[in-house]
Symmetry: C2
Subunit: 278 residues, 2 copies
């Protein structure tokens, strides 16, 4: 892994790129040998255009099978090769249809896609009650046999809100904090009848969203009572991996950043607090 640099090198400009993908046929964001990954395909395409090696930094390193409708990266490119007007169009000509570029903008030198981000927003969709999923909609919805109770889901989930230690819902990583500020965890029915959860935090630990979804579903189907999630959180007892919900239901829908003039402090602060995590 390339270490993130906070500022572009001399002779380089920093680009902020907004993109979306269908994660179905990708082995996740991060480069892996002999795997089709988002990072590899995107960096290769950028390299072709700027005729230089391109190392990207991403806001949310999504797992294999997870989708994004709004993901952000930054990448530093040589000033000499910078045709920003046509950059998105040229990238889309190179990339496959399951990875699309929505915008390419020049960013302030101190913009950092990962450490400057103030929030990540996900949606998780479930077709519960053994609903038959229309084929054209099958890629970003997880099926579930039992019918789930939206009120029970919300009662359990609302107790997760706040700046807390989410150790119970995070895969352990040496030297990483599991404290996160969860600001939204709200369940509702979509017009087509699917269950959806909006989940927003300053950042998430590895597999945290899918852990939270799986735990809430245990309550929503009546397997555990409404206090169970809160108890797990308080006890910091890692919930069973068998409750982790599948990647296909999960989509990154937004990443937010402070205004340009507030960038430097935020990036430095985030970097100091939890280097090595999203």
């Amino acid at each position: 892994m390339t270490e993130p640099t906070l500022n572009p090198e001399s002779g380089f400009r920093r680009l902020r790129i907004q993109l979306a993908y269908d994660g179905t046929n990708f082995a996740g964001w991060a480069k892996q040998p002999d795997q089709r990954t988002l990072q590899e395909e995107l960096e290769s395409a950028i390299s072709l255009i700027v005729r230089a090696k391109a190392d990207s930094i991403v806001a949310g390193r999504t797992d294999a099978g997870v989708h994004a409708t709004h993901q952000i990266i930054h990448v530093d490119v040589p000033e000499a090769e910078l045709d920003i007007e046509n950059f998105a169009y040229r990238l889309n000509r190179i990339l496959d249809e399951d990875l699309r570029i929505f915008s390419v903008k020049e960013a302030p030198a101190n913009f950092h896609a990962r450490f400057s981000a103030t929030s990540r927003q996900y949606i998780y969709k479930i077709a519960d009650g053994a609903a038959v999923v229309p084929p054209i909609e099958r890629f970003d919805v997880a099926p579930w046999f039992r019918t789930l109770d939206v009120d029970a889901l919300n009662e359990a989930s609302s107790k997760m809100i706040g700046e807390r230690d989410f150790a119970a819902f995070c895969k352990f990583r040496e030297g990483s904090t599991t404290i996160r500020n969860l600001t939204t965890f709200n369940w509702y029915r979509l017009p087509n009848g699917y269950l959806a959860a909006d989940v927003i935090a300053d950042a998430f630990c590895y597999s945290m969203v899918r852990n939270l979804i799986g735990a809430a579903v245990c309550v929503g189907e009546g397997r555990f009572d409404k206090d169970w999630m809160g108890q797990m959180l308080a006890n910091k007892v890692r919930v069973s991996d068998s409750y982790v919900f599948p990647a296909k239901g999960l989509t990154l829908t937004n990443v937010t950043y402070p205004k340009d003039e507030e960038l430097p402090d935020r990036a430095a602060m985030t970097l100091a607090r939890r280097i090595g995590e999203d």
Copy 2:
């Protein structure tokens, strides 16, 4: 091809099955040697359950790449093997996720999925103006570089409405009439900005919807004036195949039938009028 029988044989019951599919990875509805087709996969699955050969009749024989959110077939199955309660569930256990069964009902003996149908409804979706298509939505939308004018599309398309000879928009087939009753051909913007056309007729000739869409787009982008489609229709001059729009943007969304007590006359009438066509 098996000849359609108007009524089930003795000892058989007629089933009416509602289904949906993502046509992306199918070589269309109709069976073809060494191809993955909807008819083949569905009849094979039904055969497994009823332990007998199953010949289906479909309402709309969609082309390779065309989708359906609401398609209807009928099939006659042996009475002895009829567990209608679990039929849909068992079919879905056998079929792949890109072909789903929504309901299986016993139909009157004189119900005929193809000849009893009184209308077929399609939607065609276009991402015009070189819009970048979000990857998760890419399967049922056709991209188009130029921006299209909804008013011009509707002005040209509205002149197609009525019972007319659509020879200009139909591939020629020996012994088939090209007279159809087009009741709806209406363009509008979807909430996500895509252009959509609802197209409804009693029945359609082969590739008629995609011909009409392609011709309307010629007017919608200003290549031809608003009377051009009407002139083509009146002259019965076959429009160029280069105007046929791609299959991926087309979805069968509904098929309607008369009430059960009105079934016999309708089927007989339709059969007499245009045997060998949809």
